[in-house]
């Protein structure tokens, strides 16, 4: 798939929850070909920032030519992003990486924190075929169910403090869900510790599991080796180019 670097027009940049924002841009070139799990390197023309910041594609509308990102304000770059205004231009480099294999018939998506973002695009593509299990800290952070409502079959929620859904972590609820339903695949994205936990449970239940990794990136093109990672069979892979999506047994 050819990659491009192009100025996209910002359509919307609005808060979804505390410190979490949704950015939509008009970018037909990327909207027409990107697959779930792929990401874009965004150039933020603020505060003399130099490097781009990688964000997963959270959703897109190929017909309308729009691409949506959901991001957490965590450092300088994402803080600067919150001041981006509609009609401004933002340079998008993408689509980057390779996405999820979309072969499952009855998958369970599992997301934690901002790892839930790319799963929205997966759920959209699977159009009512996928269940989602999502975890967050508290009710205030859980604006996600509303976003998933049009796309997902069943939605399961855990929060650390029990203010919404089941109290605890996603991996606490997972064994029960696997008993209730015969899922043919698990797709997980979130903190590494959570992905490891999910991968272990999936392996024990003999369910194939895809994970999406995150590493600091400079080029996003496989050239600088900022994002190298070991595979279990002793190879070195680049998360930006060979990933970010891998089969769990390859990398965890």
């Amino acid at each position: 798939m050819p990659k491009i670097s192009i100025d996209a027009i910002i359509l919307e940049n609005k808060p979804l929850g505390s410190d979490i924002y949704q950015l939509s841009v008009a970018c037909p070139e990327i909207a027409s070909c990107a697959q779930p799990g792929m990401f874009v390197q965004l150039q933020i023309n603020r505060e003399m920032l130099l490097l781009r910041r990688p964000l997963s594609i959270a959703d897109l509308d190929a017909a309308a030519g729009t691409v949506t990102f959901i991001y957490r304000r965590i450092g300088k770059g994402t803080a600067a992003m919150t001041s981006l205004q509609p009609q401004e231009k933002i340079n998008c480099l993408g689509p980057l990486g390779h996405g999820f294999a979309m072969t499952a018939k009855n998958p369970l998506l599992i997301g934690g924190g901002l790892g839930i973002a790319p799963l929205l695009f997966v759920a959209h593509r699977l159009a009512g075929q996928a269940d989602i299990l999502m975890g967050g800290r508290c009710r205030q952070e859980m604006f996600w169910p509303e976003l998933f409502q049009p796309y997902a079959r069943k939605i399961f929620i855990t929060t650390d403090d029990g203010s919404l859904g089941t109290k605890g972590f996603t991996i606490d609820l997972l064994p029960m869900l696997l008993q209730q339903e015969k899922y043919d695949q698990i797709i997980v994205c979130g903190p590494e510790i959570m992905m490891r936990g999910v991968a272990k449970i999936a392996a024990a239940a003999s369910i194939p599991c895809q994970v999406s990794l995150e590493k600091r990136m400079a080029c996003g093109l496989g050239a600088c080796l900022s994002c190298s990672c070991d595979t279990n069979d002793g190879r070195r892979v680049k998360v930006c180019k060979d990933g970010p999506v891998f089969w769990a047994q390859e990398v965890l």
Binding site: A218, C219, R236
Partner: protein
Amino acid sequence: MEQSALLRTELAGIKMQSPVWTASGTFGFGEEFTDFVDLHRLGAVVVKGTTLQPRRGNDGVRMTETPAGMLNCIGLENPGVDFFLNDILPRIQKYGSNIIVNISGSTVEEYGILAEKLDVPGVAGIELNVSCPNVKDGGIIFGTDPKAAAAVVTAAKKHTSLPVILKLSPNVTDIALMARAVEEAGADAISLINTLLGMAIDIHTWRPVLGNVTGGLSGPAVKPVALRLVWQTAQAVHIPIIGMGGIMNADDAIEFFLAGASAVSIGTANFVDPAITMKIIDGIADYLQLHHLNNIEELIGKMKL
């Protein structure tokens, strides 16, 4: 005048479409950029630092942004020279650009062995990296001691017929001393600068940001330092210089030519805009035309004092 006539030039016997190169470690093997760049318009593609044995590089965080720059501690991850020759070189030759291989050894002999192995059709030259700040055995010692640097050049020259470029470290007190030593040892050209040693600390965790604690600083932040070192080197030697360090646009590149560089190399800027080298080439040609110059060579070392 046609752009190609303005920019076409030669350096250490290497015939080039333009005086714009890509810096080792920032441009992969060139093939990663083919969606954005016509590789044959580049003067040369300098590939990632290559060693005798494969190296896995450093663990932990390998890069972080700093004001107007970035720190990296990749640690010379590469698949080794044999894999490069057998698997990568045949694949990237077809793009028709000059391929320069950047090499690192942990002993003088290793530089000789690497130079000999790489003396094959398809490789246009060898760049000796004696200045990687991120590995203990990555040659940094050869980059700070003039005698050791000269020994590395001698070893490489003895084992290859290809042009040999020595890449200098900015982390020295007297660059002229280093430059003269490698010129006397027979280097065909000098490239500089490699990254400046730096570090960053996470004030929330009290830990170093980089897995290797220290790393190499590159990007616009280093440009004034790089320009000064290129100028000082140009005063000290007669062999051609490939200047680099923080070049982000054609104007930056012109400064390096005026300071005495015969070619420029683009590094960190490739991460910001993967098509930047093409824009820099066009910008240099426009500048030459505007100033009624017939070729890039009319600009080299022409700073007026």
